[in-house]
């Protein structure tokens, strides 16, 4: 595995969800940073904050040297300018679009030079090529999860946020996706923030582990 020497994720914020307020600090070394911790501790909230969907009460967020949020300096990039490839815990496929249109949703928005991957390639790797014409509600759990991963990868992201992206996959497919993520990280030097409860997964993939 190749390491990126620059700190990939530099997060130091206070988040609020409902009545709850909690501080989050992540300093990823580069490559894949695993975010682990008990359920309900704020992992998804952290990813939301990095993606620009949850505004922190204070602090700053930088990824690969780019400041996305800084309360003190009044910086708060809107989500669409952060270019996160976010695989949501609850997937959030677009019900009104076919699988192919879901996959290409971000790709079509992206600047041409960021379209580093092609639909066929991703669909092949994720084994979802036969599903392209289907609507999301006809997919099995694991199929939907792979489509969500493919959609994030195809959007030309500058970094990946993956919230338990492999839970619904069988061991063989999980291997394939893990290999794909590792390959993409290396080929495009993409920082990845990965939430996972699977210790083996974390041990095999992560370059750094952050406990929340």
């Amino acid at each position: 595995m190749s390491f990126d020497p620059a700190p990939s994720f530099d997060i130091d914020v206070v988040l609020a969800r409902g009545q709850l307020e909690f501080p989050v600090r992540v300093a990823g070394g580069g490559g894949i940073t695993a975010l682990v911790g008990p359920s309900g501790q704020g992992k998804t909230s952290t990813l939301d904050a990095v993606a620009g969907l949850l505004r922190p009460l204070s602090g700053h967020i930088a990824v690969g040297g780019t400041v996305l949020f800084d309360a003190a300096r009044g910086i708060d990039l809107p989500p669409e300018r952060r270019a996160a490839g976010y695989v949501f815990q609850d997937l959030r496929l677009f019900p009104h679009l076919s699988v192919a249109d879901n996959l290409l949703f971000g790709w079509r928005q992206a600047a041409p030079e960021r379209r580093t991957l092609a639909l066929d390639e991703v669909a092949g790797f994720l084994d979802i090529a036969p599903l392209l014409a289907r609507r999301p509600h006809t997919l099995s759990g694991g199929e939907a999860q792979r489509v969500a991963i493919g959609r994030a990868l195809l959007s030309g992201p500058r970094f990946l946020l993956m919230d338990e992206p492999l839970t619904a996959l069988d061991p063989a497919r999980r291997e394939g996706v893990i290999a794909l993520i590792a390959r993409i990280r290396d080929a495009f030097a993409l920082p990845v923030l990965l939430v996972s409860h699977q210790q083996d997964e974390v041990a095999r993939l992560a370059d750094a582990v952050v406990e929340i």
Binding site: L91, F94, H96, P136, H137
Partner: protein
Amino acid sequence: MLLSAQEWGVVALSAKVSGVAILGVLPLAFALAFALARGRFRGRVLLDALVHLPLVLPPVVIGWMLLVAFAPAGPIGAWLWRLFGVTLLFRWTGAALAAAIMALPLMVRAIRLSLEAVDPRLEQAARTLGAGPWATFWRVTLPLCAPGIVAGAVLGFARSLGEFGATITFVSNIPGETQTLPLAIYAALQVPGSDATVLRLAGVAVLLSVLALVASELLARRQGGKGAHVL
């Protein structure tokens, strides 16, 4: 169903007036529905009440208000005449305006209902995928509330077809220009013994609305039907 040439003219005019009214007012209806569903501004309830006004007041009163506003000396009418040299009085465009206003509350409600059912998490997902607020609106929000837009348009079209009181008060009952189906029916109702004419014209109105209904059902089916639930 055999109609005279003049009756065909009435039918064509009705279809034109209702069609133009609905297509013309649809963007406004959507904007109002959006403001009411999403906006958190002061005076929201007031705006809501204003939108409902054409329902609450007898149509004749709405027609009278339009008449006062769009009269050549009226606040809007004078302005329209000075700037564009047009008047809506006694014109089919005025009939379309009256129909649009009467249909507006129905359309706003249907669209608003659909808008409120749109899952904001999907809009968030679109944003993270690089779609700005506008692209998200066009590619996610709008298609997700398509059922409400179609329902609103159908409801509004049906209401426009039946519009009578505001129309006759605002633009009078001029054959070939403002005499839509309901006005022609009214005219027939005033003549004893013309029940057959009334029924024939009413039949045509119903037929027109059935066509609109069938078209909307086909549209809804093409749109994907049951697929509209979030996985």
